[in-house]
Symmetry: C2
Subunit: 345 residues, 2 copies
């Protein structure tokens, strides 16, 4: 009773924000005109527009993003749901999308969900409250509830990176199984016969599983079998590659060549092999996936499979924009991949 303000006053009492209303008053115009002077300046006479702009400056007015979005029912937001925000290949997708979305005034929001499809579903549920105008997902493996939720939202959905059989809406990516097959073929062509596969945390990486499938199938078709097949745990991928390589070398298994499910693993493997005194590729050939920048700068430079990751992001963004504009967009785009042969094979 003593602490509180004596007279009942509106809840707004304590807010110190400058509102459009105040701008309009200061400029001597209606709020509508003030609003238009900001959003559609061409609809307002120069005289009033200038007065509004001056008022904005004087008052230090900042449009409230929540009020605007609530009233207009347009979020100008595109969300990503990815296994990781900043690591591996994902940040390049976000980067590519941001390059096309940001200049158009879209806000990009990224949510990470790496542990399971259920976690992804939960993340999706939360993020949909931001009423995104488009959603970009990784891969085509999702829970049925998540698919239903996305369908109900009636917004363009891009499943990126991996090409799947059933997709929710738009699917932009490449066949990771084909990439695995191509890796095996490359190694076989080079004359390697005793092939190994190396991955990390593959339980939650469906794309790596597909690469492995493709890799193994070609080996089998060639009448051979895989010599070692290691799934390293742990998140530090360079280190995982090094550990796995050490393990293989210590085991005495006679491997010719290893296909690593990512370039990070390949870097670690190359590093460990070199330190163990192995000659690459004579004693051991190593091949990676994704063709990260580092691969070309390792000595020896690492053979890898280049995926157009930035372009995937760009295309995903364009797909969403096209659909928002009401135009059709292909349901499926295969961006392909390319084997970059370097010194490690």
């Amino acid at each position: 009773m003593t602490e509180k303000k004596p007279d009942k006053q509106p809840r707004t009492g304590t807010r110190s924000t400058v509102t459009l209303q105040q701008v309009a008053e200061r400029a001597g115009v209606g709020v509508m005109t003030a609003s238009r002077a900001i959003k559609s300046p061409h609809l307002v006479s120069e005289k009033l527009r200038l007065r509004v702009q001056a008022a904005i400056r004087d008052l230090g007015y900042l449009p409230n993003e929540y009020a605007g979005r609530l009233a207009s029912n347009r979020s100008k937001i595109v969300v990503f749901i990815l296994p990781s925000v900043s690591s591996g290949v994902f940040r390049f997708i976000v980067q590519g999308a941001e390059e096309v979305l940001s200049p158009l005034g879209y806000q990009v929001m990224v949510t990470a969900a790496s542990h399971s499809l259920e976690e992804e579903e939960a993340a999706c549920w939360k993020i949909l409250g931001w009423k995104p105008e488009g959603v970009i997902l990784s891969g085509t493996d999702h829970t049925d509830a998540m698919r239903a939720m996305l369908l109900a939202a009636e917004i363009p959905v891009v499943e990126a990176l991996e090409l799947g059989d059933q997709s929710i809406d738009i699917n932009i990516g490449l066949s990771h199984q084909d990439a695995g097959r191509a890796a095996a073929r490359h190694l076989l062509d080079r004359g390697y016969k005793r092939l190994g596969f190396l991955s990390s945390n593959m339980e939650n990486d469906y794309r790596a599983q597909r690469r492995r499938d493709g890799f193994l199938s070609v080996i089998k078709e060639a009448g051979l079998s895989v010599i070692c097949d290691i799934n390293q745990s742990g998140k530090v991928v360079f280190e995982s590659g090094a550990l796995a390589a050490k393990q293989v070398m210590a085991s005495g298994i006679d491997v010719d060549a290893i296909f690593c499910s990512s370039d990070e693993l390949a870097v670690g493997a190359v590093s460990a092999a070199l330190r163990a005194g192995r000659k690459i590729p004579q004693d051991l050939a190593i091949m990676g996936f994704n063709d990260l920048d580092i691969s070309a700068h390792m000595v020896p430079a690492i053979t890898s499979i280049r995926t157009p990751r930035v372009e995937i992001g760009r295309l995903a963004a364009e797909a969403i924009l096209t659909r928002i504009a009401g135009d059709p967009y292909p349901a499926r785009i295969d961006v392909g991949f390319e084997i970059i042969v370097r010194e490690t094979t």
Copy 2:
């Protein structure tokens, strides 16, 4: 006239969203109770809570984030304004902050502004419309207008990474000048006398300038002078390091050791030197900055200066949370750095 709906109806007509109102009706409770069942379940009887939850499930209700934030005047958002979202050291800061913020329900928003202080100011202006409860910036160099804007917003502001003389609010980082000095001392201690400095795009990297200042000052104090001082342009940093190193080697300049302003440059330099047949460190010593994971995995492993970048992000987030809670937080935290000596020096 023919196309439009004949009878004038509320603007909401076309919205297909499920609202709290509808949830409340279905559950047979007031909207207040429905709202509380979601936000503060402990304040609602189990019976009604269950009914509300069932209604939410049946209807597929998603709380509108804009309406909620507008009404409550709490954004639960922390924003970052950084030179880059996903590259170099910045993504680790975001990662560190996200680790502490996300579990508490805060949404992290990142804006990139890399070209100038003016661009940063513009980005700040825009992002403040989201009414963040805290802002994290990189470095302590900002325009006066930006400082004023941030002060007027009356929210905790953390300037991260670099320790400066004048900071807006909270400053968490390290002295990049001291780091540069330490690098020079390390190289001098190792017996190298003909030292070089290598950076890229230093115009917009105040921290790199400070490292250079420190580096040069120690060399001068030792009665020596820097042999080469290259500022490479271009964004591909591995490649920039390689190009600069090639340039130095081709020029015939007799350099003992090079301090690179980032590990990416050092990786490229090591790679180029190796390919040119130089022995590292005998023919040329190379040292980096930041101690990225890759540095330990290069062969030879790269000597670097470790900066606690994830921890900086974590601390920044904690600083903001502490201040939001109304508690005091130190104005300045020096997180220090550590020289990690490896094989390239």
